[in-house]
Symmetry: C2
Subunit: 438 residues, 2 copies
């Protein structure tokens, strides 16, 4: 049996860990025989030396084995969506409602927001009464009876990832594709999702800054899925600018409902549709993109998608009347206009800058456990390629005090880069890697 | 001020730390604001990304500032020797005695052995009554009055290196030239040595396996010395085989005395002379190697070197009569012969293998704090290039029990690689980098 130092040394020297060694090292860390400092040094060695596909698979399995796993009958064809995170990314909300309305069954275990990106649970918890803290039995029952549940990660699921992720966060070892892969895939496998669509965001506002980087992550994710029996499709989307018109927890719930009511929100629609299309194809509800697209249009236009969202809110203890009356959602007392700093066309948007401005008014968290102001956020209707005039209002910030709102409005205004000549609007969906259907 | 994560991230990305950032990070670790896991991740990042000369200097200074420093008047021209460690390396003992007899003044703070290499303190403590635990005031007084003191590192000197070294040991980050440099140089500067000769060992039995590696370390050591006002010469020696005829604590004291009495021990003499020559030139006692060499020969032949050793033992509480009567040194009750496994010429010796065989009989430590058997060791008179016959005795092991002795004898026998054709004897001193004298 290799000692912890020998294990670290092997990776440091560019070697490959036998499966048993990986298991011993991770379990030793959980059991206290491997020091936290040894795990930290190993994580940094992984950052530099990487991992083979076999190692990533083994690490994902060790993560999975560290806790309990949920399983659904294979003919149930469960499907989930995972997003690598972005500013104003409320896609999970309308996506879940539309997909369920089209016959999908979605077991979704989600996370909270940290840093400049928001979390699905935080958005949902902006709905009065909405709960996300269910146990595994309740989760399984909800998925069986209501086709959809979105809950928070319990201590029992993938404790190894939970502890190692917390350590990566403080040791600058988050940005490692093999570690990201094992973390995402272990969580998405133990929740019982047999099929998975990944919204892989690229661009300045996202984790993966370039398409080649995103493609390498996609390769690792689909590869581990294939090895562990989960079918994975990947939709590459552009995160150069916030998605939709609102950012902020209650405001994104509101926007999701507006979209499900049939309002036209082009970029949100483009991304949501592309992801639901892949979900429906993976589970056999549609054979082609066109077929899936028709199903989606019908689900929205008929009101079935909104009804599904209403039902989902009710099942998880929330007040479904928010779908009819937005005044039931938390509302901020103060606001400030965001104004354009120049004449011209919006050339680029610093989403990360906007994300941190939103963290400042309580729409996001600086660190785990920080309290949120659900009502805080911003209206950001201006998109890349739009014509603006200096001094023109290009959005609005909502916050607890006028000081907070004014400060955030100024920061956000400076996140819009305005060019003197015309800029073309861009597509949000860049490409799709569709897993072959049997 | 950079956060710990930002500091780690900067090194991870190949950046350079401003001096203040290095100080904040190391002091934060000592003060508990930087987690041990963060220091571990940073150390591994250093392993991969290295450090600039400016960073190494700054780290050495931060190490020095973490504790107290000893200073001698500059006209005192103190000098010390540091060895990067090897099997059977008793050089410090005769070297100190000869150099003092030639007029040197040596403040030496030394370490204990760990793993396959022995420590000077352990060898000296094999002498009945010998003490190494003196405080800084006693150390300064001994150097002033008796020109020589060899003591153990106190908690007050370089506490940063002490804590970080312990962490490097368990995180596989020992083998980093910048970290090795800061560790060696900080310790050798705070002890008050104004001049330093480094015995840089290369070869399979040493830390630096190749000459280019050793040269890079020498470059870093001399460079930091130059920046911090310590004059450093480097003697590159071959550690392909144990040095001298004995390995083991009491046995190496005995061998040192035999050598100071005038006995011919060619390889020990070659290395000791080369190092003392550089010491004498650094402190201006000789201008050329030939001059220094004559002084050394005279110090040994006249008996003044042995007298200096005798006086040194007495000053540090040991029984100087060991110089006349070896039966006063600890003696092992059991022994076993080491026999050649083939006919031919000794082509190479696995010193590390021999070192670990000696650890097994208590001549060295597996881990810090392990008790030693001072009497345990081996006679290893056969050298590379020597002709041996299968079954011929090529040495002897001394241990607490016959079982231990037999087992070690077998392991050591298999560490001698015997070739069927003649092998040339090799020089132990490979090259010298002499610091220019003013």
């Amino acid at each position: 049996v290799a000692s912890p130092v020998e294990t670290i040394m092997r990776k440091r020297s560019g070697g490959q860990h036998p499966r048993e060694e990986l298991r011993d090292f991770v379990n030793g860390f959980l059991g206290g025989q491997v020091e936290t400092s040894q795990m930290a040094a190993w994580l940094m060695a992984i950052f530099f030396q990487g991992m083979t596909d076999e190692e990533i698979q083994a690490l994902t399995e060790v993560y999975i084995e560290s806790g309990t796993s949920i399983r659904f009958p294979s003919d149930m064809r469960t499907v989930d969506k995972h997003s690598t995170g972005g500013v104003g990314d409320k896609v999970s909300l309308p996506l879940a409602a539309i997909a369920v309305a089209c016959g999908a069954r979605i077991p979704m275990i989600s996370g909270r927001g940290l840093g400049h990106t928001g979390g699905t649970l935080d958005k949902l918890e902006a709905i009065p009464g909405f709960r996300t803290g269910f146990n595994e039995d309740e989760f399984v029952r909800m998925v069986n009876e209501h086709r959809l549940a979105i809950i928070s990660q319990s201590e029992k699921l993938v404790p190894a990832d939970k502890r190692i992720y917390a350590l990566r966060d403080i040791t600058a070892t988050v940005e490692s594709l093999p570690l990201i892969t094992a973390s995402i895939m272990s969580k998405k496998i133990v929740e019982g999702a047999q099929n998975l669509v990944i919204d892989l965001k690229t661009g300045s506002g996202a984790f993966m800054k370039t398409l080649p980087q995103a493609e390498e992550l996609a390769r690792l994710l689909t590869n581990v899925g294939r090895r562990l029996g989960q079918r994975v499709s990947v939709v590459f989307t552009d995160m150069e600018a916030p998605l939709g018109k609102y950012a902020g927890n209650a405001l994104e719930v509101r926007e999701s409902i507006e979209y499900l009511r049939g309002e036209s929100i082009p970029d949100l629609d483009e991304v949501t549709r592309a992801l639901v299309v892949e979900m429906l194809i993976l589970i056999g509800k549609a054979r082609t993109s066109e077929e899936a697209d028709d199903l989606i249009t019908e689900a929205i236009n008929s009101g079935r998608a909104l009804a599904a969202f209403r039902h989902f809110i009710e099942v998880q203890g929330g007040d479904p009347q928010v779908c009819d009356d937005f005044s039931l959602l938390p509302t901020a007392p103060a606001s400030a206009l965001i104004t354009a700093s120049a004449d011209g066309w919006v050339e680029s948007v610093d989403s990360q800058g906007i994300g941190y401005a939103l963290v400042n008014i309580g729409a996001g968290r600086r660190k785990e456990g920080d309290a949120l102001d659900y009502s805080a956020g911003a209206l950001l209707p201006v998109k890349i390629g739009d014509r603006v005039n200096c001094g023109q209002s290009i959005g609005e910030v909502y916050a607890a005090t006028i000081e907070l709102a004014l400060d955030a409005a100024q920061r956000i205004a400076s996140s819009y880069h305005i060019a003197p000549k015309q800029v073309r609007m861009r597509n949000r969906v860049l490409q799709v890697w569709r897993e072959s259907t049997e």
